[in-house]
């Protein structure tokens, strides 16, 4: 990595196109192999934009009565699912924005949903239970009641699903429909990510800490000292570093060697408001961050957790979500004013491939 030298931040993010949606944009993502960009707003508006031009491909309004809460894009990018305050989950065709299935879970909010990596199942958290649906909309399985409302779900692999709630993380074996592992800790877990190999579980906690478990060794540890709640967590795709929000500074823990316990994390401090969004590139160690003010930075992160800024931009209001295009050639953000911004991203290094390898 020492061979990598980057140019000054200017010019790394080339403004491509902007668009406007009707309300506070909370979620976004790429579909159809990066050919279209999808945005969901809090009022239940869905919008698809052509990747190159930003032209509107289709849009839908008020798809969930009361508002939209979550979206998950199927791994093949042809299909996606949304969930809302009406207690429904909708399955959509990415190409034309037609809805193919309506799943009615009951009265209450559906706040979390995730497609399995193999795309066979859609996991949906509704109140204290998690449900599994097939792509045909058939219910495959539902969990027992958790002790409290589920705050996060994640797939560790295609046949293993994790849930987080107050006091515990639970792993379910999807094939046998059994609880595989329970990790308990008295605290309110507000967010969860798993390392790509599924071994490390990291949860942001209400008491301004991050809790780690290593499933293989049963070790756990707690990283405290955050000024706020670390709701934003992101692993790079190799599982080497974990970037965390929870304040204006991005704290990056490195899992090299015996870390992160007992190590000093990387501290990325250029934001002037609390971090609201974090996203690693699909390849390489590029981290994009957004804050409650609308500032966006792209960082090059080293394996020890230290990092340098490569580019910056400003989008005027809280960054709701950030999405790298599948080939990392572009970065898109959505904000609280409904602004959609797309940048072409170029990282030029003396040995250009290294930053991505």
């Amino acid at each position: 990595m020492s061979g990598v030298e980057v140019f000054s931040p200017q010019g790394m993010l080339h403004k491509s196109w902007t668009a406007q949606v009707d309300d506070y944009a909370i979620t976004c993502g790429w579909v159809l192999h990066g050919k279209a960009f999808l945005v969901g707003d809090v009022a239940g508006g869905l919008y698809s934009f052509e990747a190159k031009s930003g032209n509107s491909l289709w849009q839908q309004k008020e798809v969930h009565h009361g508002g939209l809460l979550a979206m998950s894009i199927h791994p093949d990018g042809e299909t996606f699912a949304t969930a809302g305050q009406d207690g429904h989950v909708l399955i959509w065709n990415s190409g034309d924005g037609s809805s193919s299935k309506v799943l009615e879970l009951g009265t209450g909010w559906v706040e979390h949903l995730k497609w399995s990596p193999d795309g066979l199942f859609l996991a949906v958290a509704f109140s204290r239970r998690v449900y599994l649906f097939g792509i045909d909309g058939q219910e495959h399985w539902r969990s027992n009641e958790h002790p409290s409302t589920i705050s996060s779900i994640a797939w560790s692999r295609s046949n293993e699903l994790a849930t987080a709630c107050y006091g515990r993380v639970t792993f379910y074996d999807v094939a046998t429909k059994q609880v595989k592992q329970k990790l308990e800790w008295q605290g309110s877990l507000v967010s969860m990510v798993l390392s790509p190999d599924g071994d490390v579980v990291a949860c942001g906690s209400q008491d301004n800490s991050v809790h780690f478990w290593r499933r293989s060794t049963n070790q756990d540890s707690e990283m405290t000292g955050y000024p706020g709640k670390p709701s934003q967590l992101a692993f790079d795709q190799t599982g080497t570093v974990l970037a965390t929000g929870g304040g204006e500074v991005i704290t990056v823990w490195s899992f090299l060697g015996n870390g992160p316990e007992g190590t000093v994390p990387g501290q990325l401090s250029l934001h002037t408001k609390s971090i609201s969004s974090l996203a690693f590139s699909n390849l390489g160690m590029l981290l994009a961050s957004g804050d409650r003010n609308g500032s966006i930075f792209v960082w090059f992160i080293r394996k020890d957790g230290q990092g340098d800024p490569l580019g910056a931009a400003f989008v005027d209001d809280l960054v709701g979500a950030i999405a790298w295009r599948p080939d990392d050639s572009a970065l898109a953000t959505v904000n609280a004013k409904g602004g959609v911004n797309l940048w072409d991203f170029k990282m030029r290094t003396k040995s250009s491939a290294k930053g991505f390898s």
Partner: protein, 460 residues
């Protein structure tokens, strides 16, 4: 950049039957020009006719450090976290709690969570009091006295149900418990909106102190068993136990979920407040009534239950079933001709059992202490005393308010606190006014003499 005003939040507490929903509907139907979002507990009493109503299941989250002032309401964080993205839809929030809710975690949510704190400001806590039942509720439930203690406004409701004399005595009792709250009397929760909304009763930053564990809720009964019963006649048998009497309530249609048990418990706390009907062995148990079983005679005693439809029956008993070996037995009319049935098969096992933490004896442990002295205080000494007081007694100090004259400071200092979250801010200039101090503490088992003595040591 637009400067966002924080959205004010009013918390509405009070026991089941105190009139929360009536007041809520009154607030919502009045012309006040506000768009109010209501966060209602899952078991709201009656429907509310308004657009933005969100149901929340009360979830109290304690932190691993055991710090009680870090205890928050997870459901509110979730709901408000989503609501803050829809600020164009509302400009006021009302949170209605269940009757058994501890107001502490609700209030603390607005100070402890950074995202909620940035967007919402706790405006005030309004507690409704059922004038006819509060005396007994205060005896039987800690939540009831804490709801009185936390209140900025106490709405003394259903005043038409008791005499003026009793009303005065009751108001005196409540004022003694919480000297900071405004007391408003009403018949059917007809209260002017100005008296409950936009109170600006809180003005708090936060100070964090650690403290040990919290008390569990207390109940006038120790045990609940839920029995699935078919129509028919049943015997409730009791063996000799530790007491010559035992209070009991038979609850019909008692669901077995945790929330249903809590709801059942809440209504039983209220029923327990009514004086019991005395029942002797051989009597039939009335449903949904507070009864006192007279168990003076030796040996097994039987009472009877008539059930006319298939349902779950909840027994809320003053003592545990074990202590009296309580059994529910189906009276079998076919026993005479069918000897295969033996007695054992007819004993019904409870589907669910629950032990409740029994209450301690107390006589308004909750009270207010007001310290008023002329002169200036030494900020350092005061700070030292308050820090120590709050770290030792913060669990039992619900609310603190006051103003202080700091030596050498031209402005009056204002204090606010919830448990050990505490803040001091400079207020208006003293000017020609005589410099004086007033501190009010509302808490449980506070030592007034000692606190006054300690405060005097802080005077210059």
């Amino acid at each position: 950049m637009n400067i966002k005003q924080k959205v004010p939040v009013t918390i509405l507490t009070g026991f089941l039957g105190s009139g929360k929903t009536t007041l809520l509907n009154r607030i919502l139907s009045e012309e006040h020009g506000k768009r109010i979002a209501v966060i209602e507990n899952e078991y709201g009493e009656i429907g509310i006719d308004q657009g933005l109503v969100i149901n929340a299941d009360e979830e109290v989250f304690e932190m691993s450090n055991g710090c009680i002032c870090c205890t928050v309401r997870g459901d509110l964080i979730r709901v408000l976290g989503n609501l803050m993205k829809r600020r164009d839809k509302f400009d006021y929030v009302l949170v209605e709690t269940t009757g058994l809710a501890d107001p502490g975690p609700v209030a603390q949510t607005f100070f402890m969570d950074d995202e909620i704190r940035d967007e919402f400001a706790l405006d005030g806590i309004v507690t409704l009091v059922d004038a006819a039942h509060i005396d007994q509720q205060l005896v039987h439930s800690n939540e009831s006295s804490e709801q009185v203690a936390f209140a900025d406004v106490l709405v003394l409701n259903k005043t038409d149900l008791i005499s003026d004399e009793s009303l005065d005595t009751l108001e005196a009792r409540l004022r003694n418990m919480n000297r900071m709250a405004r007391v408003i009397r009403s018949k059917q929760a007809e209260v002017s909106i100005d008296n409950v909304l936009n109170l600006n009763a809180f003005d708090l930053d936060q100070v964090l102190k650690r403290r040990p564990t919290f008390l569990e809720p207390e109940y006038p009964f120790e045990w609940t068993g839920v029995y699935p019963l078919e129509p028919g006649r049943y015997e409730l048998s009791l063996e000799d136990g530790p007491d010559p009497t035992m209070s009991l309530i038979v609850v019909t249609d008692q669901d077995t979920s945790e929330t249903a048990l809590n709801t059942g418990a809440e209504s039983c706390v209220r029923l327990y407040a009514e004086s019991p009907e005395l029942l002797h062995p051989g009597n039939t148990l009335p449903l949904g009534k507070h009864v006192s079983l007279q168990l003076q005679s030796q040996g097994r005693k039987s009472f009877f239950l008539e059930i006319n439809k298939s349902q779950n029956i909840g027994l809320f008993t003053q003592h545990t079933a074990e202590e009296f070996d309580i059994k529910v037995i189906k009276e079998d009319t076919s026993v005479a001709d069918d000897i295969i049935n033996n007695q054992r098969d007819l004993v019904i096992s409870p589907k669910v059992e629950r032990i409740w933490v029994a209450e301690h004896e107390h006589d308004d442990e909750v009270g207010s202490i007001a310290i008023e002295r002329l002169g200036d205080v030494d900020p350092e000494k005061l700070n030292r005393w308050l820090s120590q007081l709050l770290s030792e007694k913060g669990v039992d100090i619900f609310r603190t308010k006051g103003f202080i004259s700091y030596a050498g400071e031209s402005n009056r200092m204002v204090f606010q606190g919830v448990h050990m979250l505490f803040t001091a801010q400079p207020d208006k200039e003293w000017g020609d006014e005589p410099r004086r101090n007033q501190l009010v503490f509302i808490g449980r088992n506070l030592d007034e003499e000692e606190m006054c003595r300690e405060f005097e040591k802080c005077l210059v």
